[in-house]
Amino acid sequence: MVRKVSRNSIAVTVLAGIVLVLFVATVAGLLYYRKMIKDLNEVQEEVYEEYTRLYAYIAEDPDSKLSKKIYKAFCEYARDNGCYVEMTGQNLSTNYSKADRINIAISSKVDGIILEGDNSEETRELIDKAWNNGIPVVTVLSDNKDSKRISFVGLNDYSVGAEYGKALAELRARDNKQPLTALILLDAEERNYDDMIHTAIIQEASGRYINLSSEKVNTSTPFASEEDVMNKLDALTSMPDVIICLNDRTTESVIQYIVDKNLVGKTTILGYSDTETILKAINKGSVYATVAIEANVLARQCVDALNEYNNNNAEYVSDYFVADYVLINHGNLDSYDPEGSNEGG
């Protein structure tokens, strides 16, 4: 009897133990489940930061790698300074023209516009419209001198042209038996800075047995540019020794053309911008040198100009900032950081 009772109580104790374990397991499971569900919800919650000012960046070609690089630099610098730069017209179902994008920026009442300008009348009007709506405009890379933009931040086109000219002279010096033929691929649209570069190159190359020629490439749409480069080069009777490209897309198109036509070693390129493709091409020898903008400096200058304007009004903002560039060739390729952490130049 005594044994029976004790066995019974052992059974009850074991059962009670199982119940306790189950209870603890259930509670633990619930807590885990709660946490899991919470984590799931947290994933859904979008984390974002708020800024005091919004600037619009309107590039000539928002999809070009240069524009993206510059935009990235804008974002990084602006964020550190309490404002945000929006690439107006991006992530939309429609690709708007530059004029539309300026209009959008004006309508959405941004605190400032960073615009890759041009000499057109329409752009001038839009810049003035923005100004009239109290929105300061900073032109970048390319200016619209007659407009009411507060500043221009850009390369000294003449010195860039001079750099190309020097590079041509170097190439000429390597092989001085016959004149060096060079082709400059200009932007088909009337743009001020191309002309300046062109002029500078001509000046630098004159008297050095360099035969310079130029072609205008249609860069109005991304696809047109590549096709036009092909057509123009195919139409040539003889391939030039050097092809000078004045934008990144043209540079990449020409690199591809030279590789496809097996012209590496025969024709070299003086490129523009520092995309991965171009840097690789320098390494392989198809590009002799490329001019790359110091995007970080450019971003700092633009954002600072707008902030300065917004903080202190127009009078204290400089009209012209010279942006820095760097010439990348085989010699300094290894030390060059495309992310632009080096701010010199």
Binding site: M1, K4, T26, L30, Q44, E50, L92, T94, S108
Partner: protein, 494 residues
């Protein structure tokens, strides 16, 4: 342990209620948990696409505003103006829901842009309406074109944000559906675990209720198999509920039964002792009564009187009278003399002789008396006054009513199987079986005439010989009665 004690002291009905409450509460909690989780999940799913819905509404209202504006500018129609203002107000209301801060989140930033563009649109539209009222065609045309452009931008933005949100919302939706699946699995798991817990709880709780009952019934079985509760230990009381009380009552009952049995045992012993004592008392009383009766007759006076009578008779020459009176004197002398317990058998026989002589004188010699005596047994010691009452009985109830000279009493003394047998027989009318039986069973009361002497003799013999069956009585109708006393020879002091 304290909880266990507390629980064991609760009433069974409350325990049962506790069991059902506990299991019900568990089940309810599980249901509540599942319900809340499902509800939350459903609410979230509902809220997921609400942003898309509100953006679509915004777009609709914007288009209506523009439609109203267009209509008004074209025809200056009141309906159009009403539509314009109504939609205008709606748009204004909805604008408040949009994010207005600058953020690095694309959707939020687009919301901000939409808000600002709407603001510009509404302002421009207002200006267009004002210009219309001022009939400034150029201005309202320019403003209207501006409005149309902004509206197009807005629609593109709304469409794009909608798409973006739909993508995010779809991701959220998928995450929610996943979480719903987790909820489902979790709910099922918890339901299963809770069911197992319920079953275990019921087993535990009911066992605490039934265990004392089982112990009690086991104890009862133990008592049944033992046949007597005397050596059974009481059951330990572990709970304060009804079963505990029943157990206590059971223990008390067990104790009182044991007590009762012990008391009955003592009582029985006392009773038998009392009975023995009573018998002795009775005997002594009888003795006392006898002695009292004997003492009533002054023996010396009687003897002197009888002796005087005998001398008188002798002087008158009446020999038979002398003989008669002498026998009488002998008879009474025996009574006086033999006040002691035991006498020789010969003395008992002499007494019978005297008695018979007296009777024969009384009844003119009609009683026949025969003796057949084994002389060797004459010295056997027997209780006094055992033969004369038997002879007296035989005469009184046996042969008294017979014709004179026919009645006969025979006294035989003989040896048989170590016994000295004394038999008194008569040839009288006999004794009924019923009466014999009553006599033998000591049921005859002294008040009942027949057998008074015999009963007395039997009682004394029983006492003297420790209830050994020394007395025997046989009779047949009209064939007389035979009474035999068997004196064990080893018990007699010869």
């Amino acid at each position: 342990m304290r909880v266990d004690k507390f629980f064991s002291n609760i009433k069974i009905s409350r325990k049962l209620v506790a069991v059902f409450l506990a299991t019900s509460v568990i089940a309810m909690c599980v249901n509540l948990f599942i319900y809340i989780n499902l509800n939350q999940a459903l609410d979230k799913i509902n809220s997921v696409f609400s942003s898309n819905i509100s953006l679509n509404e915004l777009s609709d209202n914007l288009n209506k505003t523009h439609q109203g504006l267009t209509g008004y500018l074209e025809t200056k129609g009141t309906d159009d103006l009403e539509l314009y203002f109504a939609s205008y107000q709606n748009v204004k209301q909805m604008m408040k829901l949009l994010n207005s801060n600058v953020t690095d989140n694309n959707v939020k930033l687009a919301e901000r842009d939409i808000g600002k563009m709407l603001d510009t649109y509404l302002k421009t539209a207002d200006e267009a309406v004002q210009a219309k009222r001022g009939r400034n065609i150029d201005e309202y045309t320019a403003k209207y074109n501006e409005c149309t452009r902004i509206k197009d931008y807005l629609n593109t933005y709304i469409y794009s944000v909608n798409n973006e949100q739909f993508r995010t919302n779809s991701e959220n939706y998928m995450a929610l559906v996943n979480s719903l699946r987790y909820t489902e699995i979790m709910s099922m798991l918890i339901f299963a675990v809770a069911s197992v817990m319920n079953v275990l709880l019921i087993i535990i709780l009911t066992s605490t209720i039934t265990r004392p009952l089982t112990r009690l019934s086991a104890k009862a079985e133990e008592i049944i198999s033992a046949g007597s509760p005397e050596n059974i230990e009481p059951l330990e009381v572990r709970s304060g509920d009804e079963v505990g009380k029943v157990t206590m009552a059971f223990n008390e009952m067990l104790a009182s039964i044991k007590d009762y049995i012990a008391r009955i045992r003592t009582q029985l012993i006392t009773q038998s002792e009392m009975k023995e004592k009573n018998l002795l008392m009775e005997t002594h009383l009888k003795d006392a009564q006898l002695k009292y009766l004997q003492s009533q007759i002054n023996p010396h006076f009687l003897f002197n009187t009888l002796n005087a009578g005998a001398q008188l008779a002798m002087m008158e020459g009446a020999d038979r009278t002398v003989e008669y009176i002498r026998n009488m004197a002998d008879f009474f002398r025996y009574n006086v003399k033999k006040s002691s317990e035991t006498v020789k058998l010969s003395e008992e026989i002499e007494l019978v002789d005297s008695y018979m002589y007296i009777l024969n004188v009384r009844f003119a010699g009609e009683m026949l008396f025969e003796k057949d005596i084994d002389e060797s047994l004459l010295n056997v010691m027997v209780p006094s006054m055992i033969i004369q009452p038997l002879v007296e009985n035989s005469i009184k109830y046996g042969i008294k009513d017979l014709e004179p000279g026919e009645g006969k009493v025979t006294l035989s003394v003989y040896r048989e199987d170590g016994y000295a047998c004394i038999r008194v027989s008569d040839n009288g009318i006999g004794t009924d079986e019923e009466i014999i039986e009553k006599i033998m069973n000591h049921e005859k009361k002294p008040s009942e005439t027949r057998g008074v002497g015999i009963t007395n003799v039997m009682s004394r013999l029983d006492l003297y010989y420790n209830n050994k069956e020394v007395f025997e009585m046989k009779s047949r109708k009209n064939e007389g009665t035979h009474v035999t006393i068997k004196i064990p020879l080893e018990d007699t002091n010869v």
